[in-house]
Assembly symmetry: C2
Homo-oligomer: 331 residues x 2
């Protein structure tokens, strides 16, 4: 990979998509509205809580890349963000998470019940926005993503605390729960931008590989990233019993004692900071954080390669830089 | 209304739609499948638990009524049933229900988490089946229904135990949470059958009014129906704090003592059979069960009237009889 660019590529992506994203954000706000007060209150609490809106930015960026826009990218971008937020609402209930984006999770404020139902509402609104484009092919891409994402979450749930989980199982979970929505976001963006079959395929692969890289980095960051630096949220996945790659590899390669240290803390919501530190030390000893990040790099390279079939342009270069930045988060 | 027909109209509807429903049922089973074992296990547990499949039957019956079938009714019928089952899974989590269709609710067997996620999966699969028809207008009808249903559930949640709930609030809740899916089921059926605008509108109104009648009857049955006959599930809505019409009317018209008897039991999961019996006695004294059923009858008549713009046919007569039967359940 090239040297990291001087200006943060996410900032440059924000700038390049600003005009479209202003429309997307207006649409998001208006479609989160309802005469049932709890709906916009809860939805806006989450939506305005400072997420990066990376997924909808990718949708409008992909449309810009091809530039023969049919104008439907705005709707698809808002729909993608709603799908993502619906998933977050349901995931926080399923994971019993207390915090999201540095604030109490919506379920801590309005309860699990409202979080489930407002998630359903956002999903319904997402489909309505898609339908308004009249683009049935793009609707197919996003509805398939929706089913696969839920299936991936069930698979992750079934594998929670399951010590026999393999790296292949893990690869399937992150593809389904994260990468498929990145893939769909980029693919429908390309479709709205008038991409041909090769362009559409390139952007789909770009999104899928970027999403895989993104989740691998997240899963390494949960244990402090490359350097295993301990922070206040370090070990959340451990306490929830999530079978992520750093743990799967360490369980395979660790000694009996190391395995016991891991399995005692795994899935124990009350595991202490010291227990987490001991587990992180094992992950470092077996270099499983570094190897997780190596896999992230490999996916990142694939994402960049996917773009190479397309004509060179500023947007293509920017999308390539975004990939690089997304893995640098871990250092 | 005419005399009740000799043969149960639901049985006759089953017979009239048997060939189409065999296809619908096969599609439902195949689309509830997944390599993630927990998905088909949980989904089939609910799907095969002996629900009447009234909604998908209405979809194929509506298509048959117009008879210029585009063949998409099968997909829409299966999608409607998946939407309904997704809602049941989420509702049982929200209502903390232990039982569904005489068996332990899915959440009691697989847990709340799996019920939420498999509900999401069924919704995603529903949209995929709709997309496969290529009928974007019908997709619009069903996606709007999906958003309104969730909104209605949030409204019902917000109104739980709220003593200021009005009959108008109640009418809005039952329209959104129940009638809109009946409406959509009938409307997309008519659309797949090649109905013109008037036919489509007639079936939409038929479904909406039937759905309203259906829910009013359900809410009266929860307190024992017309006769206030106490059974083992009598008073579930009371214990959950659901503001249904029999309770709303009794709170408006009851004495201070009667109001106190109701409000003490309302929302108390541990309310005794005696408390429930005392509340039912109040509902009978103010005839609020009978008046709830009067409203059901009025909606049922509207449903039948909606059909009258259409040419007479055996199917039209059968759909009219189905309405009649749906309100007779309460006696």
């Amino acid at each position: 990979m090239r040297e990291a660019p001087v200006v943060n590529p996410i900032e440059r992506l924000l700038e390049a998509t600003a005009a479209d994203m202003a429309q997307v954000n207006a649409l998001i706000l208006s479609r989160a509205d309802s005469h049932v007060e709890m709906v916009p209150e809860l939805a806006r609490y989450l939506i305005e809580s400072g997420g990066k809106r990376l997924r909808p930015m990718l949708t409008v960026a992909a449309a810009q890349l091809f530039g023969k826009g049919k104008g439907s990218a705005i709707n698809f971008a808002a729909a993608v963000e709603f799908m993502h937020n619906a998933t977050l609402l349901h995931d926080d209930v399923v994971d019993e998470s207390d915090m999201r984006r540095g604030k109490p999770a919506a379920r801590m404020v309005w309860g699990n019940k409202a979080s489930i139902l407002v998630g359903d509402f956002l999903l319904g609104q997402a489909f309505m926005m898609m339908v308004e484009t009249g683009d049935i092919a793009a609707l197919g891409v996003l509805s398939a993503a929706s089913a696969v994402m839920a299936e991936g979450e069930v698979f992750q749930l079934a594998k929670t605390g399951d010590l026999t989980t393999t790296p292949a199982d893990y690869a399937e979970v992150i593809r389904a729960k994260t990468a498929v929505l990145f893939e769909a976001a980029c693919e429908v963006g390309a479709m709205s931008g008038g991409a041909d079959a090769a362009g559409r395929e390139a952007l789909a692969r770009y999104g899928l590989e970027l999403g895989n890289a993104f989740q691998l980095v997240d899963d390494a960051l949960d244990y402090g990233g490359q350097t295993g630096t301990l922070g206040k949220n370090t070990g959340d996945d451990l306490r929830e019993g999530k079978m992520t790659l750093p743990i799967i590899l360490a369980l395979t390669e660790g000694s009996e004692t190391e395995r016991a240290t891991i399995t005692t803390a795994l899935g124990d919501a009350e595991a202490t900071a010291e227990q987490v530190a001991n587990v992180v030390a094992i992950l470092e000893r077996h270099k499983t954080l570094a190897r997780t990040l190596d896999q992230a790099h490999a996916h990142a390279r694939s994402a960049q390669q996917a773009l190479e079939v397309l004509p060179a342009s500023d947007m293509r270069a920017l999308l390539s830089d975004v990939v690089e930045f997304s893995v640098l988060r871990a250092y």
